[in-house]
Amino acid sequence: MIRQSWWKILAVVILVYTILAGMLIPLKPGIAEVTPRALQAGTEVELTVTGYNSYYSKAKNELRAWLKLKGDVVLKAARIEVLNDRTMKLHFILPQYLPSDSKDDACSLILDSPIDGAIVLPEGIALTQDSVNLLEGKKLWSVDKMEELNAGPKLTFPYRSVLYESIRNQYFHVPLWFAMIFLFLFSVNFSIRYLRTYDPDADQRTLALNRAGFVFGLLGTVTGAIWAKYTWGAFWSWDVKQNMTAVALLIYSAYFILRGAFQDEEKKARLSAVYNIFAFAALIPLLFVIPRMTDSLHPGNGGNPAFGGEDLDNTMRMVFYPAGIGWTLLGFWVASVAYRVEKLQQRLLDA
C-alpha cells in the first residue's frame, strides 16, 4: 500500500507545507501610504507615513528616513515623530534649490529601522522649485549621507504595492498551470503509444489525463480571473495570455466532444489520439510563444524573462517550487482515479 502510493503521500505532505508556509510567512514591512505627495523646495514639510507590517514604536529612537534624488543625493529627515507601529510623521527641511536642472523632479523615500530593515518607496514624491540653480542645489543636498542600512527580517515575502497579500496566489494559481501542462504532456505520450500499438489501455489513460488536465486548466482560469479582478481591475481584461488560454481550453473541450461523436470504439480512439497530438502542438505556442510576442499584463511576457527579480525572491522560491511539484502530483492522483473509473467501465462494457 505504502510502496504503491508513496507519491500520493508526498503530494499531501508538500501541499500541507505549501498552504502552511504560503499563508503564514508574513509580508516584508512596506510603505502603504505617504501624504502629501508633492513638496516645494525651500519649505519645511511634514510627511505622514502609513506602514504595512511595520513596527515603528519598537525602534523609536533608531529610525532614520531620507528623501533620495537621482544620482544618490539624499536629504535626511530632521525629526521623526512615531505615533504608533503603523504611523509616523517625518519632518524635512527642504533646501532652497534642488540638485536638478529642471523645475520639477521626483524623489523616493527611504526608511531604515533595525526591526523592519530598509524600505524604499520608489519615485513616489514630486518635488518642485521656483528657480533652477544646479551648483547650489548639489552643494545643499550633499551634506547628508545614507549608510549602514539594516537588512530587516529574513523570512518574508516581498511587499508589492498592487499585489499586497495576494502575492501568495503564486503558490496556488500558477502551479495549476504547471500541473495542466504536465498532464497534457503525458496524455500526448499515451496518444503516440496508442497510435503505435492500438492498445485501448493507452487511449483510456489519455482520456483520464486530459480530463484532469482540463479541470486544472479551468480552475487556473477561474482563480486567475478572481486574482485579476483585485490587481488588474476586471475579471477578464482581454489580456493576450487570458485569451490564448481560453482558446487552448476550447481546443481541449473539442477533444471530449469529438469522442462523443463516434460509436465505434476503435475509430473514436484513433481519431481522438491524432486530435490530441495536434491539440498539444497548438497549446505550446498559444501559452508560451504568442503571449511573449506582444504586451501582456502577466509577468514574464512582452519580452521580459519569466518571473524573477523582485516578484520572486528566495523565500518565495522556497515555497513556489515545492508548490509546483505538489500540485502536479495531485493532478496525477486525480488523473489516476479517473483512469481507474474509465478502466472499470470499459471492462464492464466488454463483458
Binding site: I19, Y164, S166, L219, T223, I226, Y230, V341, L348
Partner: protein
Amino acid sequence: MIWNRLSLVCVLTLLFQQMAFAQQASGDFLRSIGHIYVVVAVILIIFLGIVLFLIYLDRKLTKLENQIKENE
C-alpha cells in the same frame, strides 16, 4: 422536514446579513487586510473544483457498482 428547511433559510439569511454588514463596514471585504481574502477565495475555488470532479467520478462509480450488482 419543513423545520429543517426553515432553519436552513434562517441560517442563510443570517449569513448574508453578516456578509452585507461586513461589506458596509470595510468597503470591500475582499480588499480588506491587504487583499488576503483574494487568496482565500482562490484556495476555496480550487478545493471546490476538485470536489466537483470527485462528485462526478463518484456518480460514475455508483452507476458501475449498480451495473455489477445487476450482472450478478
